[in-house]
């Protein structure tokens, strides 16, 4: 309870075991306000679409969610590279990568579900095999695999290196998957059902609400990742102190015997 390993927990001090700071509290207030505004604008004030009617409102959750998922993926990739590069190696990058992946999986799931529902209403079908949708599904599954690998155990460094390599392989693989599916789809001459579904003609207020949604969700992402990577740091600290305590106890035993 008294180890303060500053290399694993740069933001916590001995008496502050929570992951909140003044900055995150302020940020949280801003996000809350933004969310309330978003809900009011998105669900009530902004007009329904000419063609889609009220179902266009799903877009205000779906598009920011999808954007967040891609952002999280990019951040995981960059953090993984930062960890692997010797000059910037630090477990903080590993924890950011892990936190970002968790948030990314959550929002990818949300965007897939909301997108499905919207598709059901608009196109009459829950799913279609267009490149963007299929690639998002692959990204989702790849991330779940990434999170599973993070849980394999071992030292923090082992976990960090394994998952960093995996993340970079994913960065390699996802464009390839996207490209193959796109190539595959151009064969199929799909009906307009697989067309550019999210291109709606946007009223000014709708555009603003969408933009607001993206901004608020991005801030929320930052808030979530900050908290999560701090709690991961605390987890790691706990692991380390557990080891230290065990070593201390064993040494004390040994000295007791030696006496």
């Amino acid at each position: 309870m008294n180890t303060t390993d500053t290399t694993t927990a740069p933001n916590s001090s001995p008496r502050d075991r929570v992951t909140g700071t003044t900055f995150t509290r302020g940020l949280g207030v801003v996000i809350l306000a933004g969310m309330i505004l978003l809900v009011i604008l998105g669900l009530f004030v902004s007009p329904p679409d000419v063609n889609q009617g009220e179902s266009v409102r799903i877009m205000y959750a779906h598009v920011p969610g999808a954007w967040l998922a891609y952002l999280a993926f990019v951040v995981t990739g960059i953090s993984s590279a930062a960890y692997l590069w010797k000059r910037t190696r630090s477990l903080t990058w590993d924890r950011i990568a892990g936190a970002s992946a968790e948030v990314g999986v959550l929002f990818m799931g949300i965007s897939l579900v909301t997108g499905s529902l919207w598709g059901r209403i608009t196109w009459g079908t829950y799913w279609t095999w267009d490149a963007r949708l299929t690639t998002t599904a692959f990204l989702f599954v790849t991330y779940i695999g990434y999170l599973a690998v993070r849980g394999l155990g071992g030292t923090h460094q082992q976990r960090a290196r394994r998952s960093a390599v995996l993340a970079l392989l994913a960065v390699l693989e996802i464009p390839l998957v996207h490209f193959s599916v796109e190539l595959w789809n151009t064969l199929h001459q799909e009906a307009s059902i697989a067309g550019r579904g999210t291109d709606v003609e946007m009223d000014g207020l709708m555009l603003f609400t969408l933009f607001l949604g993206v901004v608020v969700f991005t801030l929320m992402y930052v808030w979530l990742v900050l908290h999560r990577q701090r709690s991961l740091a605390l987890d790691d600290m706990l692991d380390d102190s557990g080891l230290d305590n065990a070593l201390t106890a064993r040494r004390a035993e040994a000295q007791g015997v030696a006496r």
Partner: protein, 245 residues
């Protein structure tokens, strides 16, 4: 089999002597193939498994016309399922007596191990794919002309190379400790989707299914080749760090 005259540092980043890498690769590849030759696991277990899978497809799909149309896809699906087993086997051979750890600590370049295991896996996969295509001809009434055959052989080489590279890479990650082997399908199958798409489309052309011309198959070969090259290079680089657990 260690090389005492080599003064590579314990770190994986020692300058690679190309001839050492190739020598290691050749050694590992022949070792793996010899192990397979003597234990015949591929022949006795994996091939029957894949043939049973082909039969089960027929039960599930229940229509000659449908089967003939989807035959290419079924061949490569059966191959993918078999890859999972073969990769597990390829690394079980190493981890059984801690051989992998000893290989690494003997200073052998990881790139050589990767290339060796990939080549061995690719040879085994080629044998498997050949048998599966034969099964498709027999069970699903697929037809292969001479020009189709050329496309088929090239497709098989490109696809199995990609599959072997990715399999060895992710197999290295999933090998060994408990709770890891079950991770392999989850990690591997999404990654090999491009191979499934490309190989199936190319094989469709080769079989002439749905009247698809053979010329339409060759572009897919490009996709397969890109995949194979990309992951062979990525694997050669990433295998060392992944193994150093």
């Amino acid at each position: 089999m260690s090389k005492p005259s080599q003064n590579s540092s314990p770190e994986n980043s020692s300058p690679k002597n190309t001839s050492t890498v190739i020598a290691t690769a050749r050694l590992i590849a022949t070792k793996d193939l010899r192990v397979e030759l003597r234990s015949r696991v591929l022949l006795n277990q994996v091939v029957p498994f894949s043939l049973i899978v082909m039969v089960m497809f027929a039960f599930a799909l229940d229509s000659d016309a449908v089967l003939e149309r989807v035959a290419p896809g079924l061949v490569w699906l059966a191959t993918l399922f078999s890859v999972l087993i073969m990769v597990s086997r390829s690394f079980a051979v190493e981890t059984a007596d801690g051989a992998l750890d000893q290989l690494r600590s003997s200073g052998v370049p990881a790139m050589g191990i990767f290339i060796g295991k990939t080549v061995a896996l690719m040879v085994q996969l080629l044998v498997l794919v050949t048998l599966l295509v034969g099964a498709a001809v027999v069970l699903y009434r697929a037809q292969v002309s001479w020009s189709g055959g050329v496309l088929l052989v090239t497709t098989a080489i490109a696809a199995t190379c990609g599959l072997a590279a990715v399999g060895t890479l992710y197999g290295g990650l999933a090998a060994g400790a408990k709770g890891r082997e079950t991770l392999l399908p989850l990690l591997l199958l999404p990654v090999v989707a491009p191979v499934l798409i490309g190989a199936t489309r190319a094989t469709e052309s080769a079989f002439g299914t749905n009247g698809i011309a053979i010329s339409e198959g060759w572009p897919w070969l490009g996709l397969l080749a890109v995949f194979a090259v990309l992951f062979s290079v990525a694997g050669a680089v990433a295998f060392g760090p992944l193994l150093d657990d």
